[in-house]
């Protein structure tokens, strides 16, 4: 019953997204939808390492930026076909993830945050230093867009990018759902729940961690490439603190360790942030308060709300019909 409801909800969610361009052709709504979908991919793949894996990986957005820059540089400056963009983005992002994971294997807690954050800063330094290739602090521009014959993905209010991003989101959801129920996923969760116990049950720590990082980095790499081709630009702000915090807020708002929480977080937060744009700096005040309130009162984020409501309802129902039994 519950799984049927779930399936229905998933089908409805994607059906709405697939149908949206047919009923609304407004380019502003289109852009926000594309960005929301891209954030959903980023955040739900981040969930693999940070949520399921419990590894405080602060380099995830750097993987995204690395994917975008790699795609931009290779297709613009070195003349690779834009169709190689996604493979390039994925390869760069996965390579970066393995590089950052190696020191992380030896570390715990705050050190993981620091090393992964420092990695992002190091990438930023490299981008700033390699002005000729990257455009330095101004950013990289005029990245070649995706085209099939005479059809540009930008035509009809970027409809090509919309469906491409949506397809990647579909794939992300499929992979994360598979992951959550796979043996690999159990191992990742086992390591998060109790590392010594998991090791004592034969779970291979290093291999699992490396694979976790690599798997979670595939998606920011792919979406980084498409992002670069869609906005035709990459900027050093993609390594920035505000951007990282924005994505992390989405993840925490949505709820870590669930398939749908981060996606809900990404959609809600993208729209919220857009609605608040007229507030200027005040927007950050609202966001900051919101993050703290959620962490305080809904530690499981949006994903915890159905459970919370269910508990509330179950609680009141048992209260009326069945007197509490002693356990």
């Amino acid at each position: 019953m519950e799984t049927k409801l779930r399936t229905a909800a998933i089908v409805a969610f994607f059906a709405i997204l697939v149908a949206l361009p047919l009923v609304n052709g407004d380019s502003y709504v289109r852009h926000i939808s594309i960005i929301a979908i891209m954030y959903a991919v980023l955040v739900s793949s981040w969930n693999i390492s940070l949520g399921y894996g419990g590894v405080f990986n602060f380099a995830h957005m750097a993987f995204f930026a690395v994917g975008a820059y790699a795609t931009g540089i290779l297709t613009k400056t070195f003349g690779f076909s834009p169709w190689f963009g996604m493979p390039i983005g994925i390869a760069a992002s996965v390579a970066a993830s393995i590089l950052v994971c190696l020191p992380v294997l030896r570390l715990k807690g705050i050190y993981v945050i620091l090393v992964t954050f420092a990695f992002g800063q190091l990438c930023l330094q490299i981008v700033l230093n390699q002005r000729e290739l990257t455009g330095g602090n101004f950013g990289l521009v005029q990245i070649p867009p995706l085209e099939i014959g005479t059809f540009s993905f930008r035509d009809h209010q970027n409809i090509g990018y919309y469906y491409l991003a949506l397809a990647i989101l579909g794939l992300t959801v499929a992979v994360v759902s598979w992951f959550a129920r796979s043996r690999f996923g159990w191992r990742v969760v086992a390591l998060r729940d109790n590392e010594p116990y998991a090791v004592s049950r034969g779970v291979p720590l290093s291999r699992t961690r490396l694979l976790t990082f690599a798997l979670s980095a595939v998606f920011p790499g792919a979406i980084g490439a498409v992002y670069a081709q869609y906005v035709r630009s990459a900027s050093p702000d993609m390594f920035g603190f505000s951007f990282l915090t924005l994505a992390l807020s989405m993840l925490l708002l949505g709820g870590t360790g669930t398939v749908w929480g981060p996606i809900a977080g990404a959609f809600v937060f993208t729209i919220l942030s857009e609605v608040m744009a007229p507030l200027g700096p005040g927007r950050y005040l609202v966001t900051a308060v919101l993050i703290v309130l959620i962490l305080r009162f809904f530690p499981k984020g949006l994903a915890g709300i159905p459970q919370f409501v269910a508990q509330l309802m179950r609680g009141s129902r048992t209260g009326q019909l069945y007197p509490t039994e002693s356990a």
Binding site: D193, N194, P196, S200, R201, G202
Partner: protein, 245 residues
């Protein structure tokens, strides 16, 4: 009978503290070895060292079925058949009961398909009497069930030697009896067992042999009945006055 486990001269210190000093003992195939000793005598440290979770010995050698495990990592030690439980009831709290077992099963169990591996996991749960709870989150089951689940996950690793760290701590009297039966059953199934316990009745009923540790050293060794009457053991547990009375 051959030695399934041979421990030769192992030591471990933490700074100035010597937790284990030059300890040697062995375990024969199909034997149950009890380990007793006062708090802080190094019992749990011994299990940590044997399985390298989280650390191995400073010196000395450990052989499983004649093969040294010195150069091996914790995972390979599990593959060689040396598997432990923990003193406090430990679980993967966000996984379901059956997933706790599934995650502990070796690769070979997954070659014949998903259904077969689940079936296999259910058998382990059944073995310890948890089959009915299989889909509940591990965090929701009782303390006793969690202890049994920990044994089930250990069995899922196909141990040759099972290291049980206080399996009966905190259990009620009937539960202790059940635990005794379970350990005996496991042993009858061909698995050698080392059990650390404070509950002497359990040690006496399940052990073929008993050793007592004190300050990281071997204090006494022999049949359970002999060892618990040894005055040095009584002194270590109850203080010098009790031994001389």
């Amino acid at each position: 009978m051959t030695d399934i486990l041979a421990v030769q001269g192992i030591s471990k210190s933490f700074g100035a503290l010597k937790a284990i000093r030059n300890l040697s003992f062995s375990l024969k195939s199909n034997e149950v070895l009890g380990i007793a000793g006062p708090n802080g005598s190094g019992k749990s440290t011994l299990f940590n060292i044997l399985t390298k979770v989280p650390f191995g010995p400073d010196e000395g050698e450990i052989r499983v079925a004649g093969e040294s495990v010195s150069g091996l990592g914790p995972r390979q030690i599990v593959e060689r058949g040396l598997v432990r439980s923990f003193q406090t009831e430990t679980d993967f709290e966000t996984l379901s009961v059956i997933e706790n077992v599934l995650v502990s099963m070796p690769d070979s169990d997954f070659r014949s398909g998903k259904a077969a591996s689940r079936q296999r996991a259910r058998e382990f749960l059944d073995y310890v009497g948890l089959a009915a709870q299989q889909d509940r989150p591990a965090s929701e089951i009782t303390v006793y069930d969690r202890k049994k689940l920990m044994i089930a996950t250990a069995l899922a690793c196909r141990p040759k030697v099972l290291l049980l760290d206080e399996p009966a701590a905190g259990l009620s009297r009937p539960e202790v009896s059940e635990m005794i039966e379970l350990i005996k059953r496991i042993n009858l199934g061909g698995i050698s067992v080392i059990v650390i316990e404070h509950i002497i009745s359990l040690l006496v009923s399940v052990s073929n042999r008993l050793i007592v540790l004190n300050f990281g050293e071997l204090l006494a060794e022999g049949t359970p009945q002999d060892v618990i009457r040894d005055p040095r053991v009584i002194e270590a547990y109850l203080g010098p006055a009790a031994a001389h009375e």
